[in-house]
Amino acid sequence: MLAMDYRGPKRVRAVQKPMPEIKHPQDAIVRVLRTCICGSDLHLYNGNVPDTRVGSTFGHEFVGEIVEIGADVTKVKVGDRVLVPFNIACGECHFCRQGMFGNCHESNTESTAVGAIFGYSHTAGGYNGGQAEYARVPYANVGPTIIPPDMDLDDAVLLTDVIPTGYQAAEMAGIQTGDTVVVFGAGPIGIVAARCAWLFGAGRVIIIDQEDYRLEFACNYSYCEAYNFKEMNDPVLFIKKITDWMGADCVIDAVGAEAAGNTMQTVTGRKLLLQAGSATALHWAINSVKKGGVVSIVGVYGPTDNLVPIGNMMNKGLTIRGNQTSVKRLLPRLIEHVQNGVLNPKALITHRIPLEDVADGYRMFSAKLDNCIKTVLMPPTANQ
């Protein structure tokens, strides 16, 4: 089968690989119909996630058709079309039973801090991902969710990560009615977080990025104010000024390790790897939120340390929340939102690229070429 193949920092290709096999009675094999490149895949692509082994297949956002099931699989059957949450969760452990499906303890041997994620390095469990014609899906009774017959596959594939993660970012921000919410990062997750902030009753939503085309997209999609930090001397001071010198009630970090905007952070975090990514957005978030406010982190950082003004967090009485998204917990509500027209996931898709050209897809998304927001990869068998 055709699959994406990681060869080293900024080097990927599509090659023939052996078909995935059932390894556990609760496994299923899925024929992939749509799969996306995610902003967090860029941390892998740039070689910044420890234990990203050459020969791995990335891809944690995919939908497909079940073609084979293990002996213990009862909730889905061959022929079902499913959307597959990006986290692998057993549904039975101490954490899964609390709804923390992003923090399962029975799917990742290699690291205890991180739950298991499809196609996201051995640090996240060492699973091959969905940027392939077929994928092995463990715990098929738990994760895979049948796509409602009236739902577009393009909408479904964005329910595997982007929509739930944007939604949970807003949820974790603890938004109260009328709150001012600032979102750092106008990538797909930030755009959805800004859109969902309204669902929690925000009174004002502001998004900050450095790419004008993304700010314009966010403005139209999320009905929010959008500002380019390259046009400011100091984004924190700017936010203080436009919030009557109080700061925002809630700030969402939807950037993570690849942040631009601060030379010291970029050099130590992205070039020298002396910290677990560049923490510029998180730094700005802590400093621009109101005293007593909430910082919600969905941007991805590595497993080591970051330079952030933690003293200000204490002095300002902040609450910092973050987690990998519990996709399964949120799906019932979000499917409802899509069916009722409250959310329009597929409008985020700007590019559709054949899986054969995966290297071009990564370059385009990574270098933000051709006004790219969200890229869908189409495996050759997707249209069968």
């Binding site: 060869r7 080293g8 920092p9 080097r11 990927v12 290709r13 390894k23 556990h24 009675p25 609760q26 496994d27 070689g47 420890p50 234990d51 082994r53 050459v54 020969g55 297949t57 213990d72 057993c90 039975e92 452990c93 101490h94 039973r97 609390q98 709804g99 923390m100 303890h105 029975e106 799917s107 990742n108 041997t109 290699e110 690291s111 205890t112 298991a116 051995h122 469990g125 060492g126 699973y127 463990p138 715990y139 949970q168 949820e171 974790m172 790897l273 590595g302 497993p303 080591t304 609450t319 929340r321 519990s326 290297a359 071009d360 990564y362 370059r363 385009m364 270098a367 070429l369 051709d370």
Partner: protein, 184 residues
């Protein structure tokens, strides 16, 4: 590696309910993980060690974080540790996730793995097409002026380095005339 500290005190466990005033202001709603977590402590979980019925057979080498007692019920197997990078990874997994001695060798192993990948390609008679793997066609199509400038800069710097290094070879160190006597 973990060491048990010497002179560890016995640390007797006290039933907190016997402490005066315990829990009088407790508010279960005041939980920063709400609603991300249905709050449940291990002590309240009748089956906190619950595991799935079947365990995936270990038919391939899985590196296990020493912060957990066992291999998880399922695990991925795309690239078992091999070669020099594999040796480094195995060494890294002797340390907990709390230590740089775990993470930094893993990053080194990833870079070693890239070289091993190129060697593996060549040994299979395949010359990796770096231009295509890096997706440079897209830069050429959508970002040509900046891309050409970048390539030209890399080319000029490389050429400059070559000239500088090769010119260095020609320079013969001048024999120093030692004139010890004049110093006195």
């Amino acid at each position: 590696m973990e060491k048990t500290p010497k002179n560890t005190p016995k640390n007797p466990r006290i039933d907190p309910k016997q402490i005066k005033g315990w829990g009088i202001d407790a508010d279960p709603k005041n939980d920063p993980t709400y609603p991300m977590r249905k709050r449940m402590n291990v002590g309240e979980d009748p089956d906190s060690k619950h595991r799935p019925d079947h365990l995936q057979p270990e038919d391939t080498e899985v590196l296990r974080s020493i912060e957990r007692p066992d291999v998880s019920a399922v695990f991925g197997t795309p690239a078992p540790p091999m070669g020099l990078s594999g040796l480094i990874r195995r060494a890294a997994f002797k340390y907990s996730e709390n230590e740089y001695k775990h993470w930094l060798p893993l990053i080194v192993a990833d870079r070693v793995g890239v070289v091993e990948g190129i060697v593996a390609d060549l040994s299979h008679g395949k010359l990796p097409n770096i231009w295509a793997e890096k997706g440079y066609d897209m830069e050429w199509k959508y970002n040509r002026p900046a891309f050409v400038t970048k390539l030209a800069t890399i080319g000029a710097v490389t050429a400059g380095l070559v000239v500088w290094l090769s010119s260095g070879k020609k320079k013969q160190p001048k024999p120093v005339k030692k004139d010890y006597l004049s110093r006195f």
